[in-house]
Amino acid sequence: MSALTLDREQRRTPGTPPSKKIRDPFSDRVLVIVITVMLAVVLLLVLLPIVYIVANSFSSPRAVSSGQVTFWPVDFSLVAYQEVLTNPQVLQGYYNSLIYAVAGTLISVTLTVAIAYPLSLKTFFGRNVVMTGLLFTMLFSGGLIPTYLVVQDLGMLNTRWALLIPSAIGVWQVIIARTFFAHSIPNELYEAAMLDGASELRFLWSVVLPLSKPLLAVLALMYAIFQWNSYFDALVYLKDPNLFPLQIVLRNIIILNTTTAASGDIGQGLDARELANVLKYALIVVSSLPVLIIYPFIARHFTKGVMVGAIKG
């Protein structure tokens, strides 16, 4: 019996239930309810710590220090933000992180394209050797000290280059880019460009790159977020506080609990320690904000990037 005739019959006999096939068995509906509740719990578990931090950051120092704040600001106040945004260490860190993110992204994307595009061409002799060489570095590395020695020998210690160059290319990003080039640039375009007498670099610049904007965006964001979030290279390679990225400033203030220079000269009304306390919450919010603001726009692309590896399991 086709769906159409079933429909007609039902219209003729109004007493029968509207549809037989759509209704799920009872156990299935219970399962959906159980799953929904579980997902709601997961959602809360992920969200509540964040809400807690944000609520604290908008509360008065006194309320924070006495532990009154849970998920809603108590004694709404912007003192913490005022303090964070006028703190010279934080501002310097922000500035440095911006430099690292922008410069690092430019360097990284350029180098990644420069290696991934040739490797995506079937006629590029030696590409399997190079690819194997790259993949091997994912499995085995010389380690912290041998890498440090190289950076030292190159005279990069305690310079901005130490954060930009040694971590410039990610093998995973090369794989994503190579896969993209191999699948999205039709060979016909290449043939046509060659017939028209274009050079390879000209083709890369005027045809491939304009067609690869989504890829370039994903690579740029991956590298930018990586630079913005990284702290360990700075810890190892930098000594000069003026070069510290934001994450190091954050670590010094929150984790090592070093009181900031600025929190000393607050007006008499406020206890410096209370202020230092609330400052931590605002600092977390301020430093994560750039990433979390762009995150919803890029989540989809990141998901695609992850899936490149997932499809063939």
Binding site: V46, P118, G143, P146, I169, D233
Partner: protein, 336 residues
């Protein structure tokens, strides 16, 4: 040094992108050897060969020279003479490390923490993905996905900062909650027994949503006909999850488990180091943090490199072993 980049691989893609063997082109009797092939490729792509020099140099300088520098593990490193000029000492550094009273503790801490992490963070993304797969497309589903995925983009420093503030003994959220049910305040970070749980569960908080994406992709790849025929046979949703979905994502799960175990020794050193304090050191000192301290803070380069090399070799051996076992048992592995 283990830096986790956003979007870093959950599964490594090491198969060639064009696996189909190319049909022999041209007239059959002209045998084209590799040398001619290389010359042809150079004539056609010489600009690209120039382009690739810089990135290849990057890998040589920052990945392969460090591997050769690791030779200082077998030397008594002297800054003036450099890695190759320094005098050989054979396995002395390794022997010293193995006879060090710290050795047992380091090994135990590293393994316990790593196994705990793999065990805790393996099943949860699968559950999350299956749950998400069972509910209809809508705002709720979208927000669960978007929000559970978000912590992955928060930096390690911020996650550790949040952990410290939330677990703070006097005013933290955790102790507020415990206070409600009448439990006295606990100094979680000051007690070595809590360290592993804090490390593992904060990691689960951060990565579960991200890891679920890969299983969602695998679930989407399951042939709908399987579900249809199971429905025809009267299977309930739960039965379909058990008999269709789970077997469907098994290959992916195996690969992820292999990678997880294969990365045992490379666990998030950055985070361990941040969570460490003198009070929890007895359980939180792992091989990688020890390398950092002896190597850079105490400037014992040879010893630290020996320890790091030991770590890398054990790690690689584990990866190969687990991959071998997984291939034997399930037919799925990372390569081959």
């Amino acid at each position: 040094m283990t830096t986790t980049q956003p979007g870093a691989p959950l599964v490594r893609l090491d198969e060639p992108i064009d696996p189909a063997p190319q049909p022999k082109r041209g007239r059959g009797h002209v045998k084209r050897d590799r040398w001619t092939e290389a010359k042809r490729s150079w004539r056609r792509h010489w600009q690209l060969y120039l382009l690739i020099i810089l990135p290849v140099a990057y890998f040589v300088i920052f990945k392969y020279i460090p591997i050769s520098n690791a030779v200082i593990a077998f030397k008594s490193f002297n800054v003036l003479e450099g890695p190759w000029g320094s005098p050989w000492v054979g396995f002395k550094n390794f022997e010293l490390f193995f006879s060090n009273p710290m050795f047992g503790t380091l090994l135990k801490n590293t393994f316990t923490l790593a196994f705990y992490l793999v065990l805790a963070s393996f099943p949860l993304p699968i559950l999350l993905a299956i749950g998400l797969n069972e509910i209809r497309q809508g705002i709720f589903k979208k927000s669960v996905q978007l929000i559970t995925y978000a912590p992955y983009f928060i930096s390690t420093v911020v996650v550790v900062s949040m952990t410290i503030l939330i677990l703070s003994p006097r005013i933290g959220l955790m102790n507020d909650a415990l206070g409600l049910i009448g439990v006295p305040a606990v100094d979680f970070l000051g007690d070595e027994d809590y360290f592993r749980h804090i490390y593992v569960w904060s990691d689960v908080w951060q990565t579960t949503g991200y890891s679920a994406v890969i299983y969602l992709a695998a679930l989407a790849g399951i042939d709908p006909a399987l579900h249809e025929s199971a429905k025809m046979d009267g299977a309930s949703r739960l039965q379909r999850i058990w008999h269709v979905d789970l077997p469907g994502i098994m290959p992916t799960a195996v690969v992820i488990l292999v990678l997880g175990v294969g990365n045992l020794m490379a666990i998030g050193f950055e985070k361990v180091y941040l969570l460490q304090n003198p009070l929890n050191l007895a359980q939180s000192e792992i091989i990688a943090t020890y390398v950092y301290k002896t190597g850079l803070l105490n400037a014992d380069f040879s010893m630290a490199t020996a320890v790091g090399l030991f770590n890398s070799v054990v790690n690689l051996a584990l990866l190969l072993l687990v991959n071998f076992v997984a291939k034997r048992i399930t037919g799925n592995g990372l390569w081959g």
